[in-house]
């Protein structure tokens, strides 16, 4: 167990998949160390779900060397299946039977004894706050409850590696935060999580490592911090209430972008302590006193739109002029 391949829970080299003449995955490489959260981030249609389907043995790849849980996907899919748990995008619960029966079904399929199955089912239902609804048909559950039941079913076999395909899509904010809490608990217990999401904050919150997928290719990867550094766009914003102070400041400071309507100035900055101090020194030297100073670091949104070539449509009422937006520079 000393080679690196054994320490990787999931590894893919040159993963390709095409449906007809439509290339969905165009030679992607992935490496997910054991016990970490990996997030595949991308817009709709980027190929995220296809990647999950392939890695979870649902669909075969056209090319690529793939290993999950130390087993080769091409030759030992059964062993891979024994090591993984999958919660797909669409609810995979049996709506005709109760939540408890769904759990016991999973226990039976994992060949747990009757007693062990009942214990595990009761434990997980309790943990996912479903004990009260356990005797009701799963079709009567709310969206959030169905997702929780779905994940609880995935955990019956105590899988070492879990695939979560857009686990919070369609959930209300509270259910979403609950789901994040559950995922964090799993990771704390040593489980490896492979997560796809189209929500940048979700990847930011949960993932140790993020790969941005666009058009079947990994266009960037790294930690959230590393990705943010890829994109310029950090700045310090000064706001003034008095137009005269604003005008004199604007003339005194040359390297700034002016926003006359809101009486604010933007100074490019990566947001590090040192850069910030030098800006403050500079302002003091020029004898400028802004009424409000805010530091903006690029968020994953900036990275995402820069890398995937989409336009950022988020409303920014305090910046009516978009001609100097960092995203524009990057494009």
């Amino acid at each position: 167990m000393t080679t690196t391949t054994h320490e990787l829970a999931i590894s893919a080299t040159g993963l390709c998949k095409a449906y007809g003449d439509k290339t969905v995955l165009d030679g992607i490489d992935l490496a997910v160390p054991t016990g970490t959260v990996f997030s595949l981030l991308g817009p709709n249609g980027a190929g995220k779900t296809t990647a999950v389907k392939i890695l979870s043995t649902l669909v075969t790849s056209d090319a690529g060397e793939l290993r999950v849980g130390g087993h080769d996907l091409a030759t030992d899919a059964h062993a891979v299946r024994a090591a993984i748990g999958v919660t797909g995008q669409f609810s995979a619960v049996d709506g005709l039977i109760t939540g408890e029966e769904n759990m016991l079904l999973m226990a039976d399929l994992h060949h747990l004894s009757r007693q062990e199955g009942r214990r595990v089912a009761a434990e997980l239902l309790e943990r996912f706050d479903l004990t009260e609804a356990a005797k009701k048909p799963a079709s009567t559950y709310s969206g959030g409850m169905k997702r929780r039941l779905d994940l609880a079913m995935t955990l019956v076999g105590d899988p070492r590696i879990i695939f979560l395909d857009e686990p919070t899509t369609g959930l209300d904010p509270r259910s979403r935060h609950n789901m994040w809490g559950i995922i964090r608990e799993l990771v704390a217990g040593g489980t490896t999580v492979f997560l796809t999401t189209q929500y940048l904050d979700e990847a930011d919150e949960l993932a140790d490592h993020i790969a941005v997928l666009n058009d079947g290719k990994v266009v960037a990867e790294g930690s959230a911090e590393e990705l943010k550094r890829l994109v310029p766009g950090g700045h310090v914003r000064l706001r003034f209430t008095d137009p005269d102070t604003y005008r004199s400041a604007a003339t005194a400071l040359r390297e700034v972008t002016r926003f006359d309507e809101t009486l604010s100035l933007q100074i490019p900055s990566g947001g590090s302590q040192r850069e910030l101090r030098s800006i403050l020194d500079w302002l003091d030297a020029a004898d400028i006193e802004a009424d409000e100073l805010t530091v903006h670091t690029p968020d994953l949104d900036d990275v995402f739109f820069a890398l995937t070539g989409g336009a950022k449509v988020a409303h920014q009422p305090s910046q009516p002029s978009v001609s100097n937006q960092p995203k524009e520079n990057v494009r």
């Binding site: 389907k53 649902l58 669909v59 999958v86 669409f90 029966e101 039976d108 399929l109 994992h110 995935t154």
Partner: protein
């Protein structure tokens, strides 16, 4: 765990799931049962006297027609009940649950085996119910031996197995449960153009071969022969050939669709 014990264990788990569905929601099974029972009562009590006079050798007494009709309706019950299998397979395939099973270290065939065995058991239960109604309205077998009864039951099971595999294939091929139900409709229409209600030789000449050689007629004629002592002729082996042929066809159709992966 050996492959065989894995297969048996997982398949029986899947079977338990399917039977649980039937137990929780008996309305679908009962709805499907309604057609043969309604037709039985309609043809016996409304058309009975006329039909009885019409079939060869029958007097103007509906009891002759009851005897003629019941074997046909028992076989029709099979066609009607397996539609449930098409619908439930389709429901399974359109939901994410099958995808979950596929990502688990579960015996691959267990999902389909669960459906097939569940459907055959359901058919047997339906046959007992329809049979009970038939006996209640006066159907009696004319001195069939134990061996003939066993052969009759065996034939019904084989035919149920064959039609179930076809229905499972239909369920897999359908994009949603409604389409599955439509696609499976021929399974209750075919008996209407078989010898279930009237002898095939009373039909127009050009149509007779279709009526005589489609899967239902030879099966019905064989069952009639076993229960009532009418002539079976070459019908028994045509019926067996249909059973084996449809089972093989349905099995390959279903499993190839199942293994092709999700759409």
């Amino acid at each position: 765990m050996s492959t065989l014990s894995l297969a048996v264990r997982d398949s029986s788990t899947m079977l338990r799931r399917n039977l649980l569905h039937v137990r929780r929601y008996p309305s679908m099974t009962l709805n499907l049962l309604l057609t043969p029972i309604m037709l039985l009562l309609l043809f016996v009590y409304v058309f009975g006297n006329v039909m009885s006079a019409g079939i060869g050798g029958g007097g103007a007494d509906r009891s002759d027609y009851i005897a003629y009709l019941v074997p046909g309706l028992l076989v029709m019950t099979i066609g009607s009940t397996v539609i449930g299998a098409a619908i439930s397979v389709s429901m399974d395939m359109t939901e994410g649950l099958i995808a979950r099973f596929r990502t688990m270290a579960v015996y691959r065939g267990s999902v389909l085996i669960g459906h097939v065995v569940g459907s055959v058991l359901q058919v047997l239960a339906s046959l007992v119910l329809v049979g009970a109604v038939a006996v209640a309205i006066g159907f009696r077998s004319t001195d069939a031996t134990v061996l003939e009864w066993l052969a009759a039951i065996g034939l019904l099971v084989l035919f149920a197995l064959a039609l179930t595999w076809i229905a499972v294939g239909m369920g897999m091929a359908s994009p949603n449960p409604e389409a599955a139900s439509n696609m499976a409709t021929p399974l209750i229409l075919l008996p209407l153009i078989s010898s279930a209600f009237t002898p095939a030789d009373t039909m127009p000449g050009w149509f007779r071969p279709i009526a005589e050689y489609q899967p239902f007629t030879p099966t019905i004629e064989t069952l009639r022969g076993l229960l009532l002592g009418t002539g079976i002729g070459n019908n028994w082996w045509i019926a067996l050939a249909w059973c084996v042929g449809l089972t093989v066809l349905g099995y390959h159709w279903s499993t190839s669709q199942f293994n092709r992966g999700l759409k």
